[in-house]
């Protein structure tokens, strides 16, 4: 048990720069705010731009997913919110997002931004269709809300400094959300590989599978690159292997940090390729990849002198 406690302490709670957490906060909140404001700039079926279409669907299609049922339980089991209510949630979430971005009442703003988006996205997935594009971002928002993500580069930090109580530059609470997101990324990519192997075994690597999906999505979205790539079977075999190996081996970044320099660009390249050929929009992953940056080294200058470390924890 003590070995596990020691492992958790080393991995999740070493002193780390609070500015790293703040930068990740701004990246995650800023990117989500952008897609809420300009939903069709990056996405093909963005829930934030389709609330009116969803609200117009018949009641028979309304099948709230468990988290949405739970969030709406005070209004009655199975309650379906109106378009006006969902639009109000959208606008309120945007305001909360702006506060979270500048770091004003950061924890509350992050929590409201996370809850608002949980309800909006969950609402979109309560019509018998779901996607994967923003799940990690939502989890990131909740993790950031539970951490001192507003202690630096924020209005809250500035106000605290003016009152003579500046936050320390490093904290043992600054590392865990970034570490947690690395683990979640690893679990998600591992899930993608395990699901493919579980459903199809090594047959998934036959090249024909990728050809079929490239054609299916390429034709549906009108891309020229998808059908072009599908016409090259050998290339499809190679890309199938690369995709599966990157997903399967991605968790190695948790074992050896330096491997992130290979696996994160490789995963980003996969998502870019998938976008160009199949229009699957995993754009929100890109700002989240910042959790893999070696923040301790990048923000070394913030580090307090050795004698001040203990004082910083007080």
């Amino acid at each position: 048990m003590s070995r596990l406690a020691g492992f958790i302490e080393r991995r999740f709670f070493p002193p780390a720069p609070l500015r790293a957490l703040a930068i990740v906060r701004m990246l995650v909140v800023g990117s989500l705010l952008f897609v809420m404001l300009f939903p069709y700039a990056l996405f093909t079926f963005p829930v934030w731009g389709r609330l009116d279409l969803l609200a117009a669907l018949p009641d028979a299609q309304w099948e709230p997913i468990p988290i949405v049922r739970l969030l709406l339980l005070p209004f009655g089991d199975g309650f379906r919110p109106s378009l006006a209510a969902m639009t109000a949630v959208l606008h309120a979430s945007m305001v909360a997002g702006l506060f979270a971005l500048v770091g004003c009442c950061t924890r509350t703003a992050l929590l409201l931004f996370a809850l608002g988006n949980l309800l909006i996205s969950g609402y979109g997935y309560s019509y018998q269709e779901h996607h994967h594009i923003e799940a990690l971002t939502l989890l990131a928002l909740f993790a950031l809300a539970a951490a001192p993500a507003g202690a630096a580069l924020s209005f809250d930090g500035w106000r605290a400094a003016r009152r003579g109580r500046p936050a320390p530059a490093w904290s043992d609470q600054a590392r865990w959300p970034l570490e947690l997101l690395q683990w979640l990324f690893a679990l998600c990519y591992l899930s993608a590989a395990v699901c493919k192997l579980g459903a199809s075994g090594l047959k998934w690597l036959n090249g024909h599978t990728l050809q079929a999906y490239l054609l299916q999505e390429g034709i549906f979205w009108g891309t020229t690159s998808g059908p072009w790539l599908a016409d090259h079977h050998g290339l499809c075999v190679l890309l199938s292997w690369i995709a599966l190996l990157v997903e399967l081996l991605f968790p190695l970044v948790l074992w050896r940090r330096s491997l992130a320099w290979f696996f994160v660009p490789a995963a980003a390249a996969l998502h870019l390729g998938i976008w160009f050929t199949m229009r699957a929009p995993f754009w929100l992953y890109f700002p989240l990849y910042a959790v893999f940056l070696p923040w301790d080294r990048l923000l070394r200058a913030d580090r307090p002198a050795p004698g001040a470390a203990a004082a910083a924890r007080k």
Binding site: I8, F12, F13, I65, P66, I67, L118, S121, G122, Y125, H130, H132, E134, A135, L136, L139, F142, A143, A146, A147, P148, Q173, W176, L180, W183, L184, L187, C188, Y189, L190, S191, A192, V194, C195, K196, G198, A199, S200, G201, K203, W204, N206, H208, T209, Q211, A212, Y213, L215, Q216, I219, F220, G222, P227, A230, D231, H232, H233, A280, R313, K314
Partner: protein, 178 residues
């Protein structure tokens, strides 16, 4: 006077706050990693082809959303897989064929697909004549007929082959059909 060893000691507020933060962090970490492991590795959603394990199938996607199994595009396919490739074709008075592509109609692809092609494939006759006029306005020839066709793309070892052309709905536009 030295304090008694068993005397209650005052824990500074900063330390209490720090431990509250640590407890919250540990709760979030354990919950998120636990739920993502359950959902991602489908531990509560064994495959349907294993009937004996179906009682364990209590949380298939998206029950635990935003904790998900990333099970997109998991089914394997072989050669011969056919993918529908719909086309709109215009016929002029001399029987000449003209591909009514988004470029030929001056339309973005999504508008072409959602506003014109899919409704026409579904029988929206009222859309046929306006589309033929639009084609003319974009520099095309006058049309007398509009056809919804399909040239399936077939997965093969040497790439992609065209399947047999299938003609679906036909609409008379402008002049009557000859």
């Amino acid at each position: 006077m030295a304090p008694r060893p068993d005397a209650p000691t005052e824990v500074p507020e900063a330390d209490r706050a720090r431990w509250r933060g640590r407890r919250l962090a540990l709760t979030v970490i354990a919950t998120f990693l636990g739920l993502q492991t359950l959902a991602g590795l489908k531990l509560l959603a064994p495959p349907k082809r294993m009937p004996a394990l179906q009682p364990l199938r209590v949380a298939a996607n998206p029950t635990l959303w935003p904790f998900l199994a990333y099970d997109m595009y998991t089914r394997a396919w072989s050669t011969g897989r056919e993918i529908s490739r719909p086309e709109l074709v215009g016929i002029d008075a001399d029987g000449g064929r003209h591909a009514l592509t988004p470029a030929a109609l001056g339309l973005p692809f999504r508008e072409y697909r959602d506003e014109w092609m899919n409704p026409l494939r579904g029988g929206a006759e009222a859309k046929a004549a306006p589309l033929a006029r639009r084609f003319e306005r974009q520099g095309g020839v006058p049309l007398v007929e509009l056809r919804c066709e399909d040239v399936p793309a077939i997965v093969a070892d040497d790439g992609v082959r065209d399947g047999p052309r299938r003609v679906g709905r036909r609409y008379a536009v402008g002049e009557p059909l000859r």
